[in-house]
């Protein structure tokens, strides 16, 4: 086995704190050994990509089995409690009713189960070598934050914009207030030595067809928002899009902007999501896309990867399917890491040259920060004026004047930018054609079609 391979091979009992400590940031933000950020930092220092499923079941026994399955994978894994949609929208009565009726939910109703039940579900599984993150999608996260803290958890994700605009109808102003309070609440409710961690979902807006510059900017701005509301450990997200080169630029731009704009004492890492759009329907297509995302994570320097399963195009995946996806991603990351020098800790801020994605993202970030020192207010103003404008987003607080497309080379580009501080892309001599339902469908299915195609080489 090569030395890089030895570095990446899991120890016999990798859960006994074998990952050596060490992290580039210093000061009060250094994450403790029992924290989510600390675990990811130790894995990165050991050259290992953390892989994580998206997994949520209503039944605590099944949820426990899912976490145990995740933990058993011979890789650096963290667990996930994905919360159900009723809890996400604050309809706790519907979540309780569904539990009582035995109607399957699409996630774990953390506020409907008593805290003792969730603690018992996590007992013996949650720990320094296996942190668990609560994932939801709520623009009204207070009940979820209270429930996760009561259950002994300290890591979640979301954001004032990314958990409002594309996915609901809560007014942006209300979401901003809710998320400021949720961050402050989490910082208050988690006892020492826990280090509350919040991940920005901003790199995933709509899942697909949002040009990376805007995704990167939103993720950075939300990460900054968290730090201004008492959170000292954050992760910035980015969802794999249509072009590996553009995606690499995006992940590196996140690192560089984080170094430039986040408080230096803030613990941070970058999380990549395996493609969030229409997923390949074939087993080989889904596997190739997943493996591509793991390679991208390692090559671009993301420290954590949220995986998808081959079942994703059809239904909510089982525990077994999630475990298989984690193994596939970890193996692909390990192969990629053998080729990458140096490993995941390289200082991106110094290394990364200007890229198109970085320049675009920086234009968005600067335009928002110029709107005032209160970042929540600045974000609201930015959307009200169309300075930030998410394409195809139906929310009333989004200007709705921007449009995107995939160019002939595979990069995601702006077709229309409204009042945003970036310019539309003009193909050489190309006139723009209006988007039709067939055209939209083709764009939405482009990645799936490419990966589902038979392998020819």
């Amino acid at each position: 086995m090569s030395s890089a391979g030895a570095l990446l091979a899991p120890p016999a009992d990798r859960r006994d704190g074998d990952l050596r400590p060490g992290h580039r940031s210093a000061g009060p933000g250094v994450p403790g050994p029992a924290s989510f950020g600390g675990f990811v930092a130790r894995a990165a220092a050991a050259g290992r990509l953390v892989v994580q499923p998206r997994m949520g079941f209503a039944d605590p026994d099944r949820m426990r089995a899912g976490l145990a399955g995740t933990r058993s994978v011979a890789a650096a894994t963290v667990g996930t409690l994905t919360i159900d949609s009723y809890t996400r929208v604050g309809d706790h009565a519907a979540a309780r009713a569904a539990l009582a009726e035995g109607v399957p939910l699409n996630g774990y109703p953390i506020a409907a189960h008593p805290a003792e039940r969730t603690r018992a579900m996590l007992d013996g599984i949650l720990g320094p070598s296996f942190p668990v993150q609560v994932r939801h999608g709520s623009s009204r996260p207070e009940a979820i934050v209270r429930a996760l803290a009561a259950a002994g958890l300290d890591a979640t994700e979301g954001g004032p914009v990314s958990y409002c605009l594309p996915y609901g109808r809560t007014p942006l102003a209300e979401s901003v207030t809710n998320w400021a309070r949720a961050c402050e609440l989490l910082a208050t409710l988690v006892p020492d030595p826990g280090v509350p961690h919040v991940e920005s979902f901003g790199g995933c807006m709509l899942g697909q067809l949002c040009p990376p510059g805007l995704l990167v900017a939103l993720s950075l701005l939300e990460g900054l928002f968290f730090t201004r509301h008492g959170i000292r450990s954050v992760s910035l997200s980015y969802a794999q899009q249509t072009d590996p080169v553009q995606d690499t630029e995006a992940v590196r731009a996140l690192h560089r902007l984080a170094a430039e704009f986040l408080p230096p004492e803030t613990d941070r890492h970058v999380v990549l999501y395996t493609y969030m759009g229409v997923f390949p329907r074939t087993e080989h297509g889904a596997r190739r896309l997943l493996e591509g995302s793991a390679r991208l994570a390692v090559h671009a320097g993301a420290q954590r990867l949220i995986v998808k399963t081959a079942a994703e195009a059809h239904r909510i995946p089982t525990v077994r399917e999630n475990v298989r996806a984690l193994r596939t991603a970890a193996a692909s990351a390990e192969r990629a890491a053998r080729r990458e020098q140096p490993p995941l800790t390289k200082p991106w801020s110094a290394e990364t040259a200007d890229s198109e994605v970085y320049r675009e993202a920086r234009a968005f970030v600067e335009a928002v920060l110029e709107l005032g020192t209160d970042l929540g207010r600045a974000l609201r103003t930015a959307f009200a004026r169309g300075v930030l404008d998410v394409p195809y987003c139906l929310h009333p607080d989004n200007a709705g004047r921007s449009r995107s497309f995939v160019d002939s080379g595979g990069r995601l580009r702006w077709a229309e930018t409204g009042a945003m501080p970036v310019v539309p892309y003009l193909a050489p001599g190309g006139a723009r054609t209006p988007l039709t339902s067939d055209g939209l469908l083709a764009a939405l299915h482009g990645v799936a079609a490419r990966y589902d195609a038979p392998v020819t080489d």
């Binding site: 929208v89 996915y167 109808r169 229409v278 239904r315 139906l394 339902s437």
Partner: protein, 146 residues
């Protein structure tokens, strides 16, 4: 045959935050000449009922893909029918978490007042349904047709 342009109300269900299905369906039905008002995702029952008051739609299309479509759709159609909304109401998409259509759930949705239930991706059935509706005489007083 001359077809009317239908006034269509398009909505996601109360707990469903997905929007690509809604963006697509709006374009799809507009291209057939219909006038579509999109309510967006996460539409609670009372908002759906209120949106049917004025101007009255001639068809309500409820689309869901998050696995709660059956339960949420049932609640939505019951709310519409108990509020006296009489126009056709159709529900479609991924209605359960199992990834396949459930005949029993479909029957319950129809019993509760759904005019039609469409499987995930069955947009041709939706096209045929709206075409038939648009070819039928207007249910209200005669009016000029473009």
């Amino acid at each position: 045959m001359r077809r009317r342009s239908l006034k269509i109300l398009l909505a996601g269900t109360a707990s469903d935050s997905h929007t690509w299905n809604l963006v697509y369906l709006q374009l799809f039905m507009e291209e057939q000449g219909h006038r579509v008002t999109g309510l967006g995702p996460c539409v609670p029952d009372d908002l759906l009922v209120a949106a049917c008051a004025e101007p009255r739609p001639e068809l309500v299309v409820v689309s869901s893909v998050n696995g709660h479509g059956y339960r949420d759709g049932l609640s939505a159609v019951r709310a519409l029918r108990s509020a006296g909304v009489q126009v056709p109401v159709v529900v479609g998409g991924k209605l359960g978490v199992a990834g396949r259509a459930d005949p029993a759930q479909r029957a319950l949705l129809l019993d509760a007042g759904c005019t039609a239930v469409f499987d995930d991706g069955d947009v041709e059935a939706l096209r045929a349904f709206t075409a038939a509706l648009a070819a039928a005489p207007a249910p209200t007083a005669p009016r000029a047709v473009a």
